[in-house]
Point group: C2
Chain length 233, copies 2
């Protein structure tokens, strides 16, 4: 199914990514950022229901001047002392969060509508494309923060370091050879109040003909390809 | 209708708050934080569709050590220079955003499910109740950031200074005499990709028997009551 996911990404189409039974146990809807239209934001919020975020690679975030929010809060504790304890991280399934800034493109109005969020997401995709092509990009000229779309910054060694949906979505984009900026949103279950079960996410995938992949497949395939291509340590 | 809204808040029930035609032109679902259950989070994300946030008064945020995100980013520009420009605010209808931190209660798992977000919201309500009763509250012991629920910090002079849904929801809570911590979520329109129209929000309110109030009514009533009670300059 990983090859179907790669093909879907090449066409700018959605993929469902389940992480691991022993991690979040969550499925995210993932769509290449450059292809996100207002209808895609509506689909993510209606059929997903979680936060609508955009994953970008570590290197692109560094070039754009986007730190991890954790590092911003830790530094800011010099001015706002309580932040030190609030930023202390203690979740059981991971060593840290991939949140960077929450942003709006400056051409948005409130920032929250489907039209506005899709614009912000596409423009983040364009920003990533620019800096990865070696161009300069003035992020503050085009975006303001705080805003309504969270940027997720993948870990530096990608799936060799962390295997959250942030890294998995970027890994699939790299395998597809597309601009590695991917809108993702968690799928929630209206009835149980918890994450949508893997079984229900697979049913949704089958119903709408969307490829469904698991973290395990993505990581195995990525490492195999990386070794073949020697694109990564 | 403002009196119906006050009564609903006293019962822990939802209210729809429309701001102003010449401001965001948006309706938010608003529910007293202490009453928010998983079904309420599901209702906000399904029938609303925007970000699920919790408004708290300026004074409570100060006591809890919660700065505006804008101030955090501005200070952090000393370490991360690009943040200076990204934090530069230029929206047409307001002078600044009320975003503070995005948080999860430490007893949540991923933080995003209806069960988790409702816990975070109720616990923020309890934190506000504690500090407004003069008790100490160690926010960092109970919450971590970054997380999945945005705290919105009302302006210091409330509706005398800013009239966003953050301030309007806190004004109604104060008028109701309940703990002033209110979960709010913007109502979006699936078809147009824009904010739900005032007319459609009013239809929804009538269908579900939820009071609908406009910013103008809230501000007028609040100022009149404040003058009578001399509770505010």
């Amino acid at each position: 199914m990983i090859e179907d996911a790669i093909k879907a990404f090449r066409k700018g189409k959605p993929v469902l990514i389940y992480d691991f039974d022993d991690r979040e146990g969550e499925t995210d809807i993932a769509i290449p950022a450059l292809s996100v239209e207002p209808e895609d934001v509506a689909m993510m919020r209606i059929d997903g229901g979680g936060l609508i975020c955009v994953s970008i690679p570590f290197s692109a975030a560094e070039k754009l001047g986007l730190p991890f929010m954790h590092d911003i809060l830790s530094f800011s504790a010099r001015m706002f002392p309580q932040l030190e304890r609030i930023a202390h991280f203690d979740i059981s399934y991971d060593s840290r969060s991939s949140f960077s800034l929450w942003v709006n493109h400056r051409d948005t109005y409130t920032g929250i509508t489907d039209v506005d969020r899709s614009l912000t997401i596409r423009k983040v995709g364009e920003a990533v494309k620019s800096v990865l092509s070696g161009e300069d990009f003035d992020f503050g000229r085009e975006f303001r923060s705080p805003g309504h779309v969270a940027i997720l910054k993948a870990s530096q060694k990608l799936v060799y370091e962390r295997v959250g949906q942030t890294e998995l979505s970027i890994a699939i984009a790299e395998l597809a050879g597309i601009t590695p900026a991917v809108a993702i949103c968690e799928m929630l279950d209206d009835k149980s109040g918890r994450a949508l079960s893997k079984e229900d996410a697979m049913k949704y995938a089958a119903e709408y003909d969307i490829p469904f992949v698991e973290g395990r497949e993505v990581v195995e395939y990525y490492k195999k390809r990386a070794e073949e291509l020697k694109i990564r340590v």
